[in-house]
């Protein structure tokens, strides 16, 4: 991914971008209507995205989504109520919508007591981060993609355009994050469930880079042409490619493994680390690496995030992600985490296994390109389950023998990232989240591959 223009401008409320200016003016106008000691916290999120959905190298659906949502928290002392409106883009309409919402929030405030966990930033620091690149027009992108899919069964989604998030408050703070990107998340299918998965994403479309991705996928499909084998349940030496490791890390992240609330309420899947001092492998170093991610470095109460929060160091717990509410509830400082306290830019420090010869390091065993549908068999013990998916191969002496039909694993993180972890690759792959629930994601991960001496498969 090549970066476009990036600017980080402390103290500067903005540079005249249309959506940014609109947000600024909307909040400034609303601030003038505040009553008494009211404080307004406002967050905008939006996108102007073109989507092309493909199946068998043809279009299933294509179109554009233009949306902006304004969420506000109206505070008076320690009492507050919150809400959101979808913005129309017409100032008179949106001023009226926001005024009505604020009036309703004022009425509701009469029903709520002081909130002891309310915390918002009162020391304004304004920032701006805008990254733009060269994205092809939709018809040109479609032509490129269909050309790559000619004679192949290409299925997936192309998304391109601007996404933005902003924070503003009545104390004068303004934060803006905007990026214009494209993202092609696709597979070449051979047959049934045999496919090579790939992702081409960035700020500037590069024909050569795309061609290289297409070529890699085509070679994977060729490897899949061999007769697949079915393995019996049992323990297998396994290499988890970065995308496979990402599935495991997402399960841990979304279930509170790195958030203080889940720690304090004993719901973390890494409970044994918390209670018994159990550790992962000393090779494992995990952090929230905001500086190298693609997510905004501010959150909805106006706090900025540090560049990095070490979460696991040398296999042992280090720090946790602390949202402003948790900071108040548990009496610790916030580090600007979002309300759900999961990492948005998770990174695992690479190891020493040469990335260009993982087959050699694996020797005989399973090469797992992707895992799928992970969940817990026993959350308190961090026992996880899930399926292999897409390109998974049986390797012998470092060479591909055959694709492997899907297998279910059921094993604990204390094995996979603990006593059974033999090594991590010496490079980490940047993995952009292609999901688009509600809006396009700005989450990412930076992960190496993992060589596991024994991984338990059960079905």
């Amino acid at each position: 991914m090549s970066a476009g223009t990036t600017s980080v401008v402390p103290g500067d409320p903005g540079s005249g971008n249309q959506d940014q200016t609109y947000f600024d003016e909307l909040v400034t106008a609303a601030t003038a209507t505040l009553v008494g000691d009211e404080v307004l916290l406002a967050n905008i999120s939006g996108e102007r995205t073109d989507f092309i959905r493909l199946n068998n190298s043809e279009v299933r659906q294509a179109g554009s989504v233009d949306q902006r949502t304004l969420a506000v928290d109206l505070v008076e002392g320690q009492r507050h109520t919150s809400g959101s409106v979808r913005l129309s883009g017409d100032r008179s309409v949106d001023d009226a919508r926001l005024a009505t919402l604020l009036s309703q929030l004022r009425d509701q405030r009469a029903f709520v007591a002081d909130d002891p966990f309310l915390l918002y930033n009162t020391e304004p620091v304004s920032t701006e981060r805008i990254e733009r690149g060269s994205i092809p027009e939709p018809d040109a992108a479609l032509a490129e993609i269909r050309s790559a899919g000619k004679g192949r069964d290409l299925v997936g989604i192309y998304a391109s355009g601007a996404t933005f998030q902003g924070f503003a408050n009545s104390l004068g703070q303004r934060n803006w994050f905007e990026s214009s990107t494209f993202n092609l998340d696709w597979c070449f299918y051979l047959r049934a469930d045999k496919a090579a998965k790939n992702l081409y994403a960035g700020f500037d479309w590069d024909d050569d880079a795309f061609a290289a991705k297409v070529d890699w996928s085509a070679r994977q499909v060729t490897a899949l042409e061999r007769e697949p084998i079915s393995l019996s349940p049992g323990d297998y030496r396994t290499y988890l490619a970065p995308r496979a490791l990402e599935e495991l890390m997402q399960l841990l992240s979304y279930s509170g493994a790195f958030g203080i609330r889940a720690h304090e309420t004993k719901q973390t899947p890494l409970l044994k680390m918390l209670v018994e001092g159990t550790t992962l492998s000393p090779l494992v170093n995990i952090s929230e690496d905001t500086a190298h991610g693609v997510a905004p470095n501010f959150q909805s109460a106006g706090f900025l995030r540090p560049d990095e929060v070490p979460l696991i160091v040398g296999g042992a717990y280090a720090e946790t992600l602390v949202s402003p509410r948790s900071a108040q509830e548990f009496g610790v400082p916030t580090n600007g985490a979002i309300g759900h306290e999961y990492p948005q830019s998770l990174a695992i420090k690479p190891g020493t296994v040469p990335s260009d010869s993982v087959g050699e390091a694996l020797g005989s065993g399973l090469f797992v390109g992707n895992l799928w549908y992970t969940n817990f068999s026993d959350q308190a013990a961090c026992r996880t389950t899930g399926m292999t998916r897409f390109a998974t191969f049986w390797m012998d002496d470092g060479e591909i023998v055959a694709p492997v039909n899907v297998l279910r694993f059921d094993d604990t993180a204390y094995h996979l990232l603990g006593e059974h972890l033999e090594g991590l690759t010496d490079t980490a792959e940047v993995l952009l989240d292609a999901s688009s629930y509600e809006r396009r994601s700005t989450d990412s991960a930076r992960l190496p591959g993992a060589l596991v001496g024994a991984m338990r498969f059960v079905l």
Partner: protein, 487 residues
């Protein structure tokens, strides 16, 4: 914002006026939503949240192309710009589509959620006090380390106007009223943490304040708090091959993952292969495949009053009606809307649905129900010599063909010699969809039949979350691989 947009004739006239009349098919779908989210956690009110969301999607099929444009700008220029964008896409995609089969329905009709007691008869202060009361009933022991009670109310109005170069003019107005109550209690002792929940992923539906009584919201808190504590000292679920009796709030997940998703025609057609996956079901199976035992009868039924995914029409405007998908164990029909039916040549249902105005419709489950049988639930328990009775899903995982699955539950009860002998913790079971339903050896009767819904089914590229309904009695399956947690 208190005036309902769906009642604005000026807006409807504007929407109708921008709908092009020189294309094969055009539609404008307005969605106007108002929602309220209330939650008390550990006896402390969390920030109350009120949401307003309005937008439209313009869809145009023309000359073999399809385009959509979603916008929040409901002014005449804003709508005209969206129409232009949809036209642009229809032009770009002409000749490159997997299908040129546009929806054909231009139906006229209405649907309104049945509401017995309007939500506002329970004033905000009473709603907050109800949650505080439930919260106090949950936090009954120092070992309960986290607990909460929440209520979500959503009012969603939809207007679908359709037209074509032939002068067709459809109009469908649907007003949905949803209520989602929820409770949770988490108990901990050392490295053992156990959570019991109520509502959330099962006991929600359409209606007003009566939805709370329908599911016994006011009676559940003490039970789930006590069960979370009970699980701390309960033995681990045994491992082995045995009978399982699945309570309705686990059947909801079993139906959803291993019948619902595999029968979606868009999966069978390959649309989902890059994301949600494909299906072990192939087109040749319809009409002949023995999906389950003869006891298995599954209906697609959007007519059940108050069920979460009841509606009059899908988002392509197809009138919705009850259909059997599986009859006496034989697969007879898939879950696919008009476009998928045309593409596949297979029989389907009216289930082309979109999450919101900003997402295009795709094949989704609606209400997918297992019809009741003849046995009482007590008779099924009495018939089990060695087994477990499993309640409330808490873990789900299934392969991308919807075949190899592994599910876990919050609460298990050991059955020995026809009697429940105690609770077990961390129960799970695994199987293969294509053979699992043939292990169905008992279906409880209407007394155990429970109408439920799950609000968060994710699928599609671009991603969409939608509510689906499921109803089921308790069901017995024989010779299933069961396991517990780590010792």
């Amino acid at each position: 914002m208190t005036d309902l947009l769906i009642e604005s004739t000026a807006l409807e006239d504007r929407l109708r006026s921008v709908l092009p009349s020189d294309v094969d098919y055009a539609s404008v779908r307005l969605v106007d939503e108002r929602s309220e989210h209330l939650r008390v956690r550990r006896n402390q009110l969390e920030p109350m949240f009120t949401e307003f969301d309005t937008g439209v999607m313009i869809t145009i099929w023309n000359a073999g192309g399809l385009g959509y444009a979603a916008t929040t700008d409901l002014s005449e220029p804003g709508l005209a710009a969206a129409v232009d964008r949809a036209r642009y896409w229809a032009g770009v995609t002409a000749g490159a589509m997997v299908t040129t089969a546009a929806p054909v329905s231009h139906a006229v009709g209405t649907y309104v959620s049945p509401v017995e007691v309007t939500w506002d008869t329970l004033p905000l202060n009473d709603r907050l006090e109800l949650l505080q009361q439930q919260s106090r009933l949950l936090g009954i022991d120092d070992r309960i380390v986290n607990w909460g009670a929440s209520l979500v109310r959503r009012d969603v109005d939809q207007l679908l106007l359709t037209g074509s170069r032939n002068g067709d003019a459809g109009r469908i107005e649907q007003r949905f009223r949803f209520v989602y109550p929820s409770l949770n209690a988490t108990a901990n002792e050392g490295t053992n943490t156990q959570t019991r929940t109520f509502g959330g992923e099962a006991f929600c539906g359409q209606g007003g304040a009566e939805v709370l009584g329908r599911y016994g919201f006011g009676d559940a808190a003490t039970r789930i708090a006590e069960q979370s504590l009970e699980l701390l000292t309960a033995p681990n679920c045994p491992t082995g091959v045995m009978d399982v009796l699945l309570a309705p709030d686990q059947m909801i997940l079993q139906i959803h993952e291993s019948i619902g998703h595999p029968l979606e025609l868009d999966r069978i057609l390959g649309d989902e292969r890059n994301y949600a996956g494909t299906s072990f079901v192939t087109p040749d199976m319809f009409g002949t495949y023995q999906y389950g035992s003869e006891l298995l009868n599954v209906t697609f039924d959007p007519t059940v009053p108050g069920q979460l995914a009841s509606y009059g029409f899908d988002d392509d405007g197809t009138p919705a009606e009850r259909q059997h998908l599986i009859e006496n164990g034989i697969l007879v029909r898939g879950l696919g809307g008009a476009v998928s039916q045309e593409r596949s040549g297979l029989p389907g249902v009216a289930n082309s649905r979109a999450q919101n105005w900003n997402r295009p419709p795709i094949d989704r489950m609606a209400n997918l129900n297992v019809e009741p049988g003849e046995s009482t639930a007590d008779e099924l328990i009495a018939s089990i010599e060695d087994g477990v009775y499993l309640h409330t899903n808490n873990s789900w995982s299934i392969d991308d063909s919807r075949n190899k699955f592994q599910f876990g539950c919050e609460y298990g009860q050991r059955i020995e010699n026809g009697e429940i002998v105690g609770a077990v913790r961390n129960p799970g079971y695994r199987g293969i969809s294509s053979t699992f339903w043939r292990s169905l050896t008992g279906v409880a009767d209407r007394d155990s039949f429970t109408v439920m819904g799950t609000p968060n089914c994710g699928k599609g590229e671009l991603n969409q979350v939608i509510g689906t309904g499921h109803a089921s009695p308790a069901c017995r399956f024989s010779n299933i691989e069961v396991f517990g947690g780590e010792q």
